[in-house]
Amino acid sequence: MSLPVLALLQAADPQLPPLHFWPWLIFSLIKLLVVFTLYMVAAALLTLAERKISAWIQDRHGPNRVGPGGLMQPLADGLKNFVKEETFPKFSNKALFLIAPMLAFMPALITWAVIPFGSPLPTRWGRVDLVLADIPVGFLYILAISSLGVYGIVLAGWSSNNKYALLGGLRSSAQMISYEIAMGMATIPVVMLAGNVTLGAIVMTQAHQGWNIVTLTLAFFIFMVAAFAETNRVPFDLPEAEAELVAGYHSEYSAMKFSFFFIAEYANMVTASALMTTLFLGGWDIPFTLWDNLPPFSVLKTLLTLVAFLGKLSFFLFLYMWIRWTLPRFRYDQLMSLGWKVMLPMALAYIVIIAAAILGLDALGVPRDWRFALSMFALNIVVVFIVFGWLDRGRIVSPASSRISAGELARLRTMAHRSTLTPRETGD
């Protein structure tokens, strides 16, 4: 608290006016530069974290030569990529080959603009909202911008004129658009509860009637799986499946252009984690208290909510890596059938269930507080049990033949042949 910067901040009265134009513009620029820098540093540190965590999971040391405990490794990697020779494949489409990494890099680093990351900060000049631009279209902006990332990948794959790259780019685009539908549909229950698409309103709703992970558990699972697929991470990393496609869409890329794809991947991970936090884990909300959501706002509240936000964010980032070094990769047909045949109808049915539940609870006169959250949670436990305990039972995605006995498999095969469907249609 003795930092000179903090001396400029003061405890706020409840009705702090928003900033005038110039201070607002300056604070916007500060937020922009600080978060952009944090993103770049986070992307670098996450590459190290990934290697350290993988080492930990596989009982190795990981990078430990550059700097104390390998801490300078990302810096060395970045510097190396910056001064490496650039290669241009002879038959590639030069212009697109050059533009593709930038097209992948840009959406990854502008998506965060509408995500709120702390309670409003009171200053001498008025209230500073800790979000770069709380635009009215809010969440729609994220859906729109994050899907632009696929252009960079598909153009990289096509312009390289390399078979691996082409396949990687195609796979990636098909995968990303498939899971975007499930992702969009999983967020409809969220906007139904909030009655708004701005992320600030979604955070406030969760502060008052319980986090959406409690009230909309299944939507959270659908969104999380879709987010993993959208960021091309294990178990959905088929676009860059190293065992079959070398490095996928960036096989031909070297030096800084390769780094761009890497930064974009990690920045997308951070954004997806921030989005899961904001939509389902209450964003910067501190659980079980409304103290942090109500004025008067203070520097302490801002700092604590920032810590809460970053804590939830780090959990998801760790989850990304944990899953990467735990689960094997899907086969492509499994990935597509999971997206289209499982997640899409599930999300659609869930919208109907949640709409009916909201209607029913309102008709019963359940107030929108912990009672509402508990009723929804009870419903969600039933739904999750039906999905994972009865519908799924570990057989939706995994090859059935690996899980059931030979006799049972033969019986199912004859059943499939006897049915009216042709074997092709039953996937036999």
């Binding site: 134009f21 922009l32 241009f88 050059l98 635009i135 498939s178 031909e252 309102d362 929108r368 249609e425």
Partner: protein, 134 residues
């Protein structure tokens, strides 16, 4: 409109960074191209033919289905935002809930019709084998 200014600044700043970093990296590095280095990588063997060949039509199929279903999602978003207001015959309470006895099935029923039609189309696509990837 003022609220969009930081967004435009950010987009400009990131674009500047993307171009700037590429340019600086391009200027300080020296290319030493040779015919072997410029070949497309095919795991070490001499490249066979061109990569610009025909590829599976299924990728187009997925893209077409995506457009249809994504537009359904877009239609559902405004409904989702207005759902609580549509299913209430009076003003909503401050908490967003509908007062007891004022709930209406209007919004729910409308969407049920929409989702039912969508679902019939989905079943049709499924049974036609458009979602089959083998």
């Amino acid at each position: 409109m003022q609220i969009y200014v930081p967004l435009l600044l950010l987009i400009g700043f990131v674009a500047l960074n993307a171009v700037g970093i590429t340019l600086v990296s391009h200027l300080i590095t020296r290319g030493r191209p040779n015919p072997i280095k410029e070949q497309p990588y095919e795991s070490g063997i001499p490249p066979l033919g061109d990569a610009r060949e025909r590829f599976s039509v299924k990728f187009y199929m997925v893209a077409m289905l995506f457009i249809v279903f994504d537009i359904e999602t877009v239609f559902m978003l405004p409904w989702g935002v207005y759902f609580q207001r549509l299913s209430c015959t009076t003003q909503l309470l401050a908490s967003g809930a509908c007062p007891r006895g004022a709930t209406s099935f209007f919004g729910f029923g409308e969407m049920l019709v929409f989702i039912a039609i969508l679902f019939v189309g989905f079943i049709y696509v499924w049974k036609k084998g458009a979602l089959q990837w083998d």
